[in-house]
């Protein structure tokens, strides 16, 4: 028992430290890329850190109509994000938290986080935030099947329901057999990734137009440390789902946690730049067209499943 603790606790803190240190830079890189494509200077890449620090130093304002749910929302969504990253294997190593079926936990921890963000939004009683919550619910509902189908493909080929096994070096073997299927799954994951992180073409994180926002409108009433937690949680979410993608595309074992972490970090930077480029070259989808886009992702993931099944 003690041996387990002495092994688990350092791994736990090492993982958290890494994630917390790295994740805020990613939105910064996206912003920088967008600025660069548009020919602007743009904010420095460390701006998200500054924002978070600044927000932590501020006080928070609460509307009289809100209850504890409103205050709990940011805390729970941050905690959920921190819990989810424990299941991510860094550098092909085993994740600190791993068991058969952690795949499903991984997906549902995000669900919990989303649920509390939405209830906190509804708690304000504002029409805007209600709209945002309903949109978020619909679109995440549509994105989830694609995520699950994709994970299912991987799990079937890896023969395990654990994230650590799924994203181990075994992926290289799967690539050699089912390259087209994995490409499809990766594409579907990119769509899910953009949806979950409310990026263009699903959502525009930079808009100030409250009537068109999806995710941002839900957190309009949060301020100070609460907003900081929300910003941090969304950066961690970007990290966690990004890590999944990077790992699928680049499943090389690299010695040790720090070397693996470095590879992952570089991969995530690449992903952030990709997101920046996508955001710079595409307009946002009309809200009514988003389900269509997500259905497309679902079909891609489903096609991946069919291909692996047909080849068997």
């Amino acid at each position: 028992m003690t041996a387990w603790i002495s092994e688990f606790v350092p791994a736990l803190f090492r993982q958290w430290a890494f994630v917390l240190a790295v994740s805020p830079i990613l939105p910064g890189v996206v912003a920088k890329t967008k600025a660069w494509v548009a020919g602007r200077q743009g904010p420095p890449v460390i701006q998200p850190y500054r924002d978070i620090v600044k927000l932590f130093q501020k006080g928070a304002a609460y509307s009289r109509t809100t209850t504890w749910i409103f205050r709990a929302g940011p805390v729970i969504s941050f905690s959920a994000a921190m819990a989810a990253v424990l299941m991510i294997p860094i550098g092909g190593m085993e994740a600190p938290l791993t068991f058969q079926g952690d795949l499903i936990l991984f997906a549902y921890v995000w669900g919990t986080s989303r649920f509390f963000t939405m209830t906190a939004a509804l708690d304000t009683g504002s029409a805007f935030e209600g709209m945002g919550a309903s949109r978020e619910a619909v679109f995440s509902c549509l994105a989830e099947p694609a995520l699950f189908l994709g994970l299912l493909t991987l799990a079937r080929e890896a023969g395990s329901l654990s994230m650590s096994d799924l994203l181990s070096v075994g992926l290289i073997r799967i690539w050699s057999i089912h390259a087209p299927a994995l490409c499809l799954v990766t594409t579907a994951f990119i769509v899910v990734f953009l949806t979950e992180n409310s990026r263009i073409p699903i959502d525009d994180p930079n808009t100030h137009l409250e009537l068109t926002m999806i995710h941002e409108v839900m957190v309009l009433d949060h301020s100070g440390p609460d907003l900081a937690l929300i910003e941090y949680a969304s950066a961690v979410k970007f990290f966690a789902l990004g890590a999944l993608l990077v790992r699928i595309v680049y499943p090389i074992r690299s010695g040790g946690f720090w070397a693996g972490g470095a590879v992952l970090g570089i991969g995530l930077l690449g992903l952030s730049i990709l997101v920046g480029v996508i955001e710079s070259t595409m307009a946002r989808l009309r809200l009514a067209r988003i389900p269509q886009f997500l259905a497309f992702a679902f079909v891609l993931a489903g096609f991946g499943v069919i291909l692996t099944l047909a080849a068997a």
């Binding site: 390259a179 087209p180 259905a295 079909v299 069919i306 291909l307």
Partner: protein, 214 residues
Amino acid sequence: MMSGEYSAILVLVVITNFYILNTSRYIISARAIALQGCLLSLLPLPDAFAGSPQAMFLSAGTLMVKGILMPVILIRAIRSTDEFRVAQPFLGHVASVLLGFVILVAAFWAGAAIPLPTRPHDVLMGAVGLATILTGMMIMVNRRKAVGQVIGFLILENGILILSLRISRGLPFVIEMAILFDVLLAAMIFGGFIQSVHETFSHTDVSRMRKLKG
């Protein structure tokens, strides 16, 4: 050609199908058709490398007709009617994409039942061919505008090419060429017709042509 690339081409064909199902812009559909034509022209290449000059000609002919000429004709017809705008299909886009997925599953199931697989990709090829044929039919039924139906027809035609490659590595050379020529002619006549329909009705919405009944 390596096996992975071959199946990748087929997968891309299916993705172009879905892309066309998903889009409501005819110019883009026409470009996707062009892409599909180019992809199809790659399919006979393994035979061509294996030393079959006819496969080489077939590949070149497909590229020429399906990859370049037909899309050009189609795009010109679309431009001439001045109707690039969205026309809501009878079945919404989400529903048609999901139906396309059902078709795909069914095609994989049925494709496996086609007898005589001889080469490693035959199962996939049969399925993709069938799925393309069915998707083409669905698009023909589902689109309101004349251009949409023509697009469906061209996809259907592409599906048959894939399936003919699956069944017998393509029809005899002369016939394959005659068919290509015929399809090209069909595309031209469709293009001309779309223009006449546009001139006569000042729209090309086929669903609004319902004078003739019973």
